[in-house]
C-alpha cells in the first residue's frame, strides 16, 4: 500500500519544515569541483587562501545540488511534485567549506491553484540552507508545481 502522497493542499502559506542533515566531505567536494567547477578556489588550498573567498570552498552549484538531494529525501519524492519552472532569486551568502554539515528549512510564501489546469497547484517556497554554526549559507525563492488532492496525478 502506498503511503498517502503530499499534495498541494499540504503546503499552505505559512507552512514550514526543517529538513536535511548532510556532511560535505572533502572527497565529495573535490569530486564535484573536478567534474563541474574546476577552479583553484575549490581545488587548491594555497590558491584558495589568496582567492576571493578566503580559503577552500565548495562549488555553489554543489550546495544547490545538496539542497536538492535533501529536498528529495525529506518531502519531494513522497509528494505529487510536478517539477519547478524556475527560481526567482538565489544567493550564496557564506562560503561552504569542505567538512561543513548542512541542514535546511523551507517556508511556503504563496500557494494558489492554476487557472488553466484544475489538477495543478503552484507554491512558492523560501529556502534557507544553514551550516553547523547556523549561518545561512544559501537562500532561494523557488516555485513548485504540485498535483492537487482532488484529482491525483
Amino acid at each position: 500500500m502506498d503511503e498517502k502522497r503530499l499534495t498541494f493542499e499540504d503546503f499552505p502559506v505559512g507552512a514550514t519544515m526543517s529538513f536535511g542533515d548532510h556532511v560535505v566531505t572533502e572527497d565529495d567536494a573535490f569530486a564535484f569541483a573536478t567534474l563541474f567547477d574546476p577552479q583553484a578556489i575549490h581545488l587548491d588550498k594555497d590558491a584558495a587562501n589568496a582567492g576571493p573567498l578566503d580559503g577552500l570552498s565548495i562549488s555553489g552549484w554543489h550546495t544547490c545540488s545538496i539542497l536538492m538531494r535533501m529536498m528529495c529525501d525529506s518531502f519531494l519524492l513522497r509528494s505529487t511534485s510536478l517539477g519547478s519552472p524556475g527560481i526567482e532569486t538565489l544567493s550564496w551568502k557564506v562560503p561552504v567549506r569542505p567538512g561543513d554539515r548542512l541542514h535546511a528549512r523551507w517556508t511556503c510564501v504563496s500557494a494558489r491553484t492554476s487557472e488553466k489546469r484544475t489538477d495543478l497547484g503552484i507554491c512558492v517556497f523560501d529556502y534557507e540552507v544553514f551550516n553547523d554554526n547556523d549561518d545561512v549559507v544559501l537562500t532561494a525563492r523557488v516555485t513548485h508545481f504540485f498535483g492537487r488532492e482532488l484529482e491525483p496525478s
Binding site: D37, P52, S65, M68, P85, T89
Partner: protein
Amino acid sequence: MMTELERYLAGEAVNVGETELTAEAIIAFASDFDPQRFHLSESAARDTHFGGLCASGWHTCSIWMRAMVDWTKNHAPGAYCVSPGLKNLAWPKPAFAGQTLTAFSRVKTWRENEKRDRSQILKTENWVEDDEGDRVMSFEATLLFGP
C-alpha cells in the same frame, strides 16, 4: 582585432562550450543529487510528464559552469569566476539524453571591482541551448571575475 575576452566584455554573446549529455551522466548526477524517476531511467521517465530521460536542472546548471570555467581558463588565464547570487533561473524545456548542450554567456553591464585589482563585477545573462537551439536553462547572475 579584439580578443574573445574583449568581445565578451563589450557585450557579445559568447559560446563558452559544448557538452554531450549522455544518459550515463544524467543518471550518475541524479543518483547523487536528484533521484526523481524522470532523471534515473529511460523506461521510468517515459511514463512521466517529461516523456523521456532528462537531466536534473542542477546538472544543466553544473554543465554550464564547467563550460564557463574552461572558457575562462582559455581566454582569461588565472581568473576566477564566482557569484554572490542569481535571479530568474528557469528551465523552459527538459534537457534530454543524447542532446549536445551549448553554453552561452553575455555581459549586460560591467564595472571595475574596487576591492580587488584587475577584477571586474559583471552583470550577465547565461543560458544553455539544446540541438534544436532551444533554451533548456537560463539565468541572470552577478559574476566576480578576475585574477
